[in-house]
């Protein structure tokens, strides 16, 4: 299973904090975005259009990154910490 975490505006859009997907032993960000898109089409599209960053096990990855069974993936809208 892959755990997917949603933050900030994506959490609101998804209506949940996290999801789990079974995509075999190895998959890609693109395939994961299609799986997410089945229930949240807008989010799937945002990932493919690179409007959100993707982290795997807490490291930001490129769109062609490989994801393994057991990984923690997070969809990260643009950061806005640090006050002003």
């Amino acid at each position: 299973m892959i755990k997917v975490k949603y933050f900030a505006s994506l959490k609101t859009m998804a209506g949940k904090e996290e999801d789990r997907f079974d995509l075999g032993r190895e998959t890609t960000v693109l395939k994961l975005s299609e799986a997410i898109g089945k229930t949240s089409p807008a989010i799937g599209e945002m990932v493919r259009e690179k409007k959100v960053m993707v982290s795997v096990n807490q490291d930001v990855v490129l769109p062609d990154a490989v994801i393994h069974d057991g990984d923690e993936v997070a969809l990260l809208p643009p950061f806005s910490g640090g006050a002003i």
Binding site: F7, P77, P78, S80, G81
Partner: protein, 145 residues
């Protein structure tokens, strides 16, 4: 009112004391001569809208990891003695403290450079998000430079 713990980077709900954080850092070395502090506070207005409340959310573990990376890079690249970073999350009122960066150098020049770099790098690399409450409702904020 504060809890300056041993950890040099922290994300916490509670407020912090700037004095306590600085005194804690002073103990690191007797050769600290210049301390530059950035304190970010909640502003009342943003793009003409009056803000009544702020809310910060973070990605636990990843955010702390990024702050620690940032701290170590600041020490190495700018030659400062040490740096501490505290960022609050949860509900924050106008005027309250949000984020604190304390850069300690033997001289002031490197402390200024490191502190300014650190806050701009924090905004770029640390998974923390801000939601503003205005009369029009709640909005997750887009990044500002």
């Amino acid at each position: 009112m504060s809890t300056a713990t041993e950890s040099r980077v922290r994300i916490q709900k509670e407020d912090f004391s700037v004095t306590d954080e600085i005194e804690h850092m002073k103990k690191v070395s007797a050769n600290i001569g210049g301390i530059v502090v950035f304190l970010g506070t909640g502003r009342e207005s943003s793009k003409g809208e009056t803000i009544t409340k702020l809310h910060f959310e973070h990605y636990p573990q990843m955010a702390e990891k990024k702050l620690e990376e940032l701290r170590q890079k600041a020490i190495k690249d700018f030659g400062i003695i040490d740096m501490s970073i505290v960022h609050r999350v949860g509900e924050i009122d106008i005027g309250e403290n949000i984020v604190l960066i304390v850069a300690c150098g033997e001289h002031r020049q490197e402390a200024f450079k490191a502190c300014e770099w650190a806050i701009s790098e924090l905004k770029r690399t640390t998974p923390i998000w801000k939601r503003e409450t205005t009369s029009k409702g709640d909005v997750w904020v887009s990044p500002t430079p």
